[in-house]
């Protein structure tokens, strides 16, 4: 069965420091991975997906199939990055897109 692991419940960094939010997965098929973010009092929203190979708000994530990882990185953390981050794995099921989420990492950027 598919599984997504985010080992850190809380990650605290200083403003301007590099950030790496860890995500590991297990999946027998070809994985498609996402990072979703939930800012305080806002709804969960897509941050980025691995197939797009894009940088959003300075964040990037590279899929490493050898290490089964999809870590989220940003070179210089900003205060507005403080939020809950969820890694998710897509599974195509019955024509839809079921997402399996990790337990989330709370990122706190301190001044």
């Amino acid at each position: 069965a598919q599984r997504v692991t985010q080992p850190e419940k809380l990650l605290s960094v200083f403003k301007g420091a590099p950030v790496e939010l860890k995500c590991n997965y297990s999946y027998s098929g070809s994985p498609e991975l996402f990072w979703y973010v939930q800012y305080s009092r806002q709804r969960l929203q897509l941050l980025l997906r691995h197939i797009s190979r894009e940088s959003i708000k300075g964040f990037t994530a590279d899929l490493n199939k050898g290490e089964t990882s999809f870590h989220l990185k940003k070179p210089f953390a900003q205060e507005e990055d403080s939020a809950m981050y969820y890694c998710a794995l897509r599974e195509v099921t019955g024509g839809g897109n079921k997402l399996t989420f990790g337990t989330g990492t709370q990122l706190k950027v301190e001044l």
């Binding site: 099921t93 024509g95 897109n97 337990t103």
Partner: protein
């Protein structure tokens, strides 16, 4: 256009009562998903609808949980004989049918508290 909406935003109920949670997806989105967000548990998939049918109900935790969707639009998640462990935020999401468009758009959630 409006995003996914859910009602009520908060629901407090007594143990043993039934509750109904409602989700209005984005217009035109044929896929609809229910998730549960519990403290320390992250987001758990509950059920997925394509149109009015539910090809994947694998996440429903017990037979006290059921969901339906009518007119390919509004969905209702019903929890019968609520228990304290049902307390959580229930999230609804929708997406277009095209599986290549994998982004799910989430509602604000319904916070359920069972006393």
């Amino acid at each position: 256009g409006a995003g996914v909406s859910q009602s009520p935003s908060n629901k407090v109920t007594e143990k043993g009562k039934d509750v109904e949670l409602r989700c209005d997806p984005i217009s035109g989105h044929t896929a609809l998903y229910w998730y549960r967000q519990s403290l320390g548990q992250g987001l758990e998939f509950l059920i997925y609808f394509q149109g009015n049918s539910a090809p994947d109900k694998s996440g429903l935790p017990s037979d006290r949980f059921s969901a339906e969707r009518t007119g390919g639009s509004v969905s209702t998640l019903t929890i019968q004989r609520t228990q304290q462990e049902d307390s959580a935020v229930y999230l609804c999401a929708s997406s277009p049918r095209d599986v290549r468009v994998a982004e799910q758009f989430f509602g604000p959630g319904t916070r359920l508290t069972v006393l």
